[in-house]
Subunit: 332 residues, 4 copies
């Protein structure tokens, strides 16, 4: 029998998840969709699915085996805790919560459930962990194909920042992906961070410092650099190059077609993160559903990963507020 999934939030991400669960994932069926906007829920939901404006109704429905939370960030922690009460597996979009306090609350509740049942109900949507490129890069690091990693260079660029983005939210919403992926990639926790202002683009509004430049030092001594540029205009790209003792390994930009016209040779660049990470979202959902079907712990990021990323983000914000001072990360 397929896993019956309820999806909370029918915005861009929620609708993508519904489409994936309905057409490109084996063993799942979307039975329930919740959104404050009933029309939006109806537009995104499959024909046979129920819709509601009340997420609690969905979470507690006997027709839902598992829940995807893709609603506003501010609702994440509360909905996850409701799923815990219903003992329903939940895949929550990042971030776990907008505040450290809420994240800690979720982690504590998750720990109680693990203690009681031996398994966690919570999976966190750090989808880059399922991107084939990042997966291959991590494998290469783990194999020490080029010896010890020494330095990592990342860039993360969007065409345009969302309205109201601040230098702080750029960290908690965008850089958060690297704050999760780097410890995962290197198998080493981030111990120290610093944040540097670059010259800011005229396209950065409301005091946003953009691009920003960040440095992370993991426990293994490796230094990771990150240029985060949310108003890069040209499109959406992420890069990650690991510099090791015997060579370098980095993500390749992929493109289906190469074109020569008008004096240039060109390939396309994605407009935003969704085409870039379409495979990652699909494979993440598939891994989640397949594990649930097998009764196994899903191999996605978990509550502690979400908390760790949030803790590092707070340290980064502290560096930002301290004129770029190098800032230790405390996990306790």
């Amino acid at each position: 029998m397929p896993i019956r999934v309820g999806v909370i939030g029918a915005g861009i991400m929620g609708a993508d998840h519904i489409r994936n669960l309905s057409t490109t994932i084996g063993g799942a069926v979307v039975t329930f969709v919740a959104d404050l906007d009933a029309g939006r829920a109806a537009a995104a939901a499959p024909r046979a699915a129920r819709i509601t404006t009340d997420p609690s109704e969905l979470i507690n429905s006997s027709e839902v085996d598992a829940v995807v939370v893709a609603s506003h960030d501010s609702t994440h922690a509360g909905l996850v805790l409701e799923c815990f009460e219903a003992m329903t597996p939940v895949l929550c979009e990042k971030p776990l919560a907008p505040t450290l306090l809420e994240s800690l609350e979720v982690v504590a509740a998750d720990a109680d459930i693990v203690a009681a049942t031996g398994a966690s109900l919570l999976s966190l949507g750090f989808m880059r962990r399922f991107d084939p490129g990042y997966v291959a890069l991590r494998q290469s690091v783990q194999d020490r194909a080029q010896g010890e990693p020494l330095m990592v260079h990342c860039t993360s660029r969007n065409a345009a920042a969302g309205p109201g983005t601040t230098s702080e939210s750029a960290i908690t919403n965008s850089a958060i992906h690297e704050l999760d992926i780097i410890p995962w990639l290197l198998d080493s926790r981030i111990m120290e961070v610093s944040w540097q202002a670059g010259r800011s683009s005229r396209h950065a509004e409301g005091g946003l410092q953009d691009p920003a430049f960040m440095m992370l030092r993991t426990a293994d001594g490796t230094v990771t650099t990150l240029e985060l540029f949310l108003n890069a205009q040209y499109g959406y790209t992420t890069s990650c190059e690991v510099v090791s003792e015997l060579g370098t390994t980095g993500l390749k930009d992929s493109a289906l077609l190469g074109v020569r016209q008008d004096g240039i040779s060109r390939t396309g660049i994605p407009e935003d993160w969704r085409p870039r990470f379409a495979d990652a979202y699909r494979l993440q959902l598939q891994a989640w559903i397949s594990a649930l079907a097998e009764g196994e712990q899903p191999p996605l990021a978990g509550a502690q990963d979400g908390l760790n990323a949030a803790i590092v983000a707070q340290a980064m914000i502290q560096s930002l507020h301290s004129d770029g001072a190098s800032t230790k990360v405390s996990y306790s």
Copy 2:
């Protein structure tokens, strides 16, 4: 309810289809697997599926809504006709049949069904039609983004030819993909072909001419060239570049990682066609299942496409046997 699929043939391709249908395709479940080797069927089948050594049992089972034929080429036509009798939709791996005569028989039976029911039961596994690169290339041609296409250059290279490959079977089994994809790409039938021997590799055995060079002229006047090299040793690649009035558009080789080590900068090349076309196989199966679920005609290649490719292949073999003479293709 998911489409219940029976898979005939549990070899490399069949096992891949079973894995895809079970884990990366929405709305399908594999309920039955047939293989002459019961152990191989059992190894490839999901736990809940039945197995048999008798494909007819599978085709006529009430637990099977649709059939995938991935058994030996020589069995294709017969099994497809059995599916027709059972009025069961069938996805048959290419080729439709090893002989023109059998292909014609299938096409005639298919036409009878279409005449009687308004729809075809047969889909043919020319999976390149679902490869995102070929799809984007076709879209570019259809949009006339660079004006009229004038010439197309293809290469198709394998690491090593299978045992017993002949210059003729290289056409019917390997070049057949281009013989299908070029008319699909250009929306124009192949009217004339020629086959040229190159200097043959020492790795080509048993009189196989390898590489071979072929030319196709479509009704629109476009000349397509194809280098087919089955013992290319270095790995598996296909290329396709369309030269148009305002520029060129071609497939890009994709690679997840770029590596610099030991004085070279490198990317990996697939060992065989399966990693290269993994997405194409998945998307083709998904399109087939989704159409069946919606009660629509699947958008895969059909009987006539299979026949057309077989007719062109025969003309190419005739050119081969005529010292490379340019040979007209007759479809009537």
Copy 3:
């Protein structure tokens, strides 16, 4: 003492040679420039150089040690023969002559001089032989780094054909470069050729078939393909890929800068052949001057190479006039 060079022809190519000889070549000085248009000669000549409208005056001047012929194709053979009479080394731009008859005459005169003096006075400007890419490609073939070469694929594309270009002159003026470079690359003479019309671009005027597709078979059995497209619009590129028993080696397009902007990642394409082959022209001139300074035979193409290319071009034109029939090349 520097070699004192007289340059005949102060058009685009002649002016380039003068600039190279004056500023990027060691051991040379341009002392004399001849052009039918005295103003053009004066504009191109260095301050200290003499100018004339009479090439014979230049050839026979006591201030000229060596002559570069960069005037109209129709004048090449006559001027080269004058240089022979003056016993002056000459670097003649390709082609040696527009007709086979004249080419034969030059080759005969050259042979007489070689017989008498042991050295040839004539160097022919097939500059691709000095392009670092073609040189490296030839080295790779000679080293058999990938075993025996089996097939070669070339494309040669210009933005727009010159006025009055015919299908025949496209062979004698443009394809001539591949007709020279392939035997040089493979160390094997071209024995058979054929010419195929593609669908012609609307930008091709006056009955010119463009693009055209040619095949060359060398004595070693290797098949070389050439797409020649003079109205490719997008810019100037040449490609050459050698397919060998263990892999492929091909020229890389080079570009100084990679740019990401407006949703695309791009590199520039040269407008015409001069930036593409600027290094080749420079290195060819340097090799010529250095050899003259050392009293050695210059390592450039010679009279026989020019004749051979002309003979193959004639066979290709014969194929063109015979509906693409495969045509043997006779060198005797």
Copy 4:
């Protein structure tokens, strides 16, 4: 008449300069070579050139119009000052001097000559300023083709550090190229620097921190990052990407050939800086010689550029000695 050049130092760089001046530069002749090792001088010198073990003899020879200083760093300042006394134009390899004090002395002497004669005699061999890639990148920045530059990312990697390299000498000898090129590229002085240790490679000997990571802030607010890795093992590469308001522009790695073999697609990487910057050295020498021939001020870096780079290098070393503290650069 060609410029008669005397070359001091016949080591790797000196021998390269002699070869360039003799064979690929117009208007120059090497008439004198000095080296402490007379045999090395003789081996590197052209046949007609004199040799000596006494650089002063060369500088003061009536057969020398201009001097190239390619001897040990410790001799640079003294030899340049001798050239000043002889009123002979001199091209000095970088660095101007190993100490700030000596650099200041040279700058003062240079200023006296400029005051007296209106022109400087000193050119400094920051050859990257003549690399076609860096030149095109600078042009792009100056044209503001992508609006204002905001951030620059550089990497500079060697296969193996020379013996005795320290973290300090890595700055003054290797990073010095970026310390010169960045103000030249952005047309803005470096005002603040910091130095960060990465995890050090096991191939780094004697306490050398390698790779190191540096940040430069120019007066325009742009932040430049530099990874300097002298034991990168894989070969020699430099990268430079300018991130601007509308996009990015970066140097492309160039390679003559692309090869597919043994399951990989590859291009070659230079072993050291000489093939990478061969064109830059040639073009720099050519620009120097051409300017001398025309009686113009050579367009190479000058004394003040050398001093500025040395001042920034000292600030960088101060940051290194201050645990990576951000350090202001004072030019007065």
